[in-house]
Symmetry: C2
Subunit: 368 residues, 2 copies
């Protein structure tokens, strides 16, 4: 297949589904069977299957990482600024795979999926997914595609945490790793913000312990929790610049208030609360240093190269923590590069500052 | 009266009440009558009534700023580290007044007080208080005590905002002002955190629009909102040091989680939700630059001296904003000093770092 190139993007293939009849075994020991994994691919796998890049998505995106399904789609995939013909991850050279991870509500068997045993959504019975389960599902897709070795695994935020987990779980299957705005464990402040958001969701009577699918009540707890999440993605600079204390028109409502409400309502309508609390908890539970005794031990078998990118105004994953991760990787004998990017855009910079992220990514991928 | 001096504190007088039979008129135009204002005094007013310092309290404290009512009280007043014999605000020299402001639930007529017209708590009918109303109530107490001019007005956080409002509303009544960890308007990020907390409280069915006094249901929304507030008082450094990712004993619950729950439950049991949302909203509404056209105009009539104290790890009131306030005061011709304190304790430093705050406060008050 050769993709139709549009002005700045391209027409992508529809999502594909890998069905595991025997199911997926989660790290908790629970099995969901059958289990369907939705993924997308972009570009062409070369003859010796050596040009595959796995892009891991973050909390809210899907497997639709780039391109438009139809030329007149209003928006392309979530990382279209990075992935495309001639872009930072150049589809003229690379074959990109993006897998919707277990727990996420975008196609892969999720808490809102129907349990064939009951004919009702899994709801509260869906396992508490771990980052390890995300890697397991991605590996099953790569097996299915006949890709033994990745040219690179790339991710930002929770996607970056997955990239780190990849080189720990499958060090021999990865030649290069790019981890953007992420570390091997979330800082305690981020954990606390996540916890507070989850408490909001769970204290909402409409949440009904996670079995709310029979009701059409809006989940106000999810909306407010999303506002917290949203705040952690923005820098104070960005907030000041975007809103200051403006009140639109003659309204008494501050612009930042109506913005948070609008974004939160939009998110809560689309995203599933059971997915949200599980995916955030998975992020919070990952702690490679704790799980392996030290980061050096965790990374000891990875012999590929690594690129870490930090944003100076990111306070979800502060640059200092990424610098420490860089030190630990170097101490583990990894050829690791740290690129610090100055931007007012906070954690969200990975979805905004393509002109700043593209050069280090491009030159890292080109390096042999 | 001469106070009995204890080891590091002293025995303070019980709270006093000023009753306004004609009531208090709020800035909104609403009047609550009668209106009672609770205040405490510490030390001795000198013969020419020239040694009075008004200490303005922040969101959660009361008029009990220092000392113990009885020698065996478990805890002294909330700023006992600063106010006392031989301390930063030395009661051997100064007479200190602290007034419980309107909106706060600690004695002054508040949302939970009984409306004589109905025999029920004011609840949702209590006015949305402004910082100006707090100053008005304090001025009434000073009038009552025969204090025309303050040697100083001092406050931290919302108390510091009141100190700033004092020199704007009554510039001729103040000789010196000390504003710690506060600015003339809260940054938009802080407003957003406050808004999210208020939404949480108001979305709680148990809140019942503010008329919840007949019920004994715990207000989970207030507990969770308090966790947000608590987070904004702590620096990331303090969180890491205090908790890291520790889980006490064999528990799966993170220590930061049980700490936030414990603190939030304690707060929510004691503090009133209607008070909380009103006092925070008062903070958010204050914006001297907007109200007067510019800070220079706001401060133009104040001819006293000013001390501003900033904490480097405070992200509720970032040092950069306090530096800007300092610039504006200097531009308004005020003899203003900025003292930047390096501390890992974030916004809460004003309740912790007495050895660091005492020297600049003491030397500022001694300066003639």
């Amino acid at each position: 297949m050769s993709a139709e190139r549009l002005d700045t993007t391209f027409v992508s293939d529809p999502p594909k589904t890998l069905r595991l009849d025997e199911g997926l075994r989660f790290r908790t020991g629970e099995v969901i069977a059958p289990f369907e994994i939705v993924y997308e691919t972009f570009g062409e796998l070369n003859a010796d299957r050596s040009n595959a890049i796995l892009v891991c998505h973050a909390l809210s995106p899907s497997a639709h990482a780039a391109g438009k399904y139809k030329a007149d789609d209003p928006k392309p995939g979530w990382w279209d600024g990075m992935i495309g013909y001639g872009k930072g991850i150049d589809l003229d050279e690379h074959f990109v795979v993006c897998v919707n991870f277990p727990g996420s509500p975008w196609g892969t068997t999720a808490p809102h999926s129907i349990d064939p045993a009951t004919g009702k959504p899994y709801g509260s019975k869906y396992p508490w997914v771990c980052v390890e389960d995300m890697i397991t599902a991605q590996a099953r897709v790569l097996d299915h595609l006949g890709i033994d070795k990745l040219e690179a695994v790339v991710g930002s935020s929770l996607g970056g945490m997955q990239a780190l987990m990849w080189v720990v779980m499958y060090p021999e299957r990865v030649d290069a790793m790019i981890c953007i705005a992420a570390t091997a464990s979330v800082p305690v402040a981020t954990i606390a913000w996540h916890l507070i958001g989850r408490k909001m969701i769970m204290s909402d009577p409409a949440f009904a312990g996670g079995d709310y699918y029979d009701s059409t009540n809006p989940l106000r707890g999810l909306e407010i929790a999303r506002m917290i999440g949203h705040m952690t993605y923005l820098s104070n600079e960005a907030l000041e610049k975007k809103f200051g204390r403006r009140r639109p028109g003659s309204s008494r409502q501050l612009q930042v208030d109506s913005y948070l409400e609008y974004q939160a309502k939009r998110f809560a309508k689309a995203y599933d609360a059971n997915a949200y609390i599980r995916v955030q908890a998975a992020m919070d539970e990952m702690d490679l240093a704790d799980q392996f005794g030290s980061l050096q031990i965790a990374f000891q078998n990875f012999r590929g190269k690594a690129l870490l990118i930090a944003f100076d105004t990111d306070w979800l994953f502060p640059r200092i923590d990424i610098a420490r991760l860089h030190g630990a990787m170097r101490a583990a004998g990894i050829d690791a590069t740290l690129s610090e990017i100055i931007t007012p855009n906070g954690h969200d910079a990975f979805l905004i500052d393509y002109p700043l992220i593209t050069p280090p990514v491009k030159s890292f991928l080109a390096r042999r």
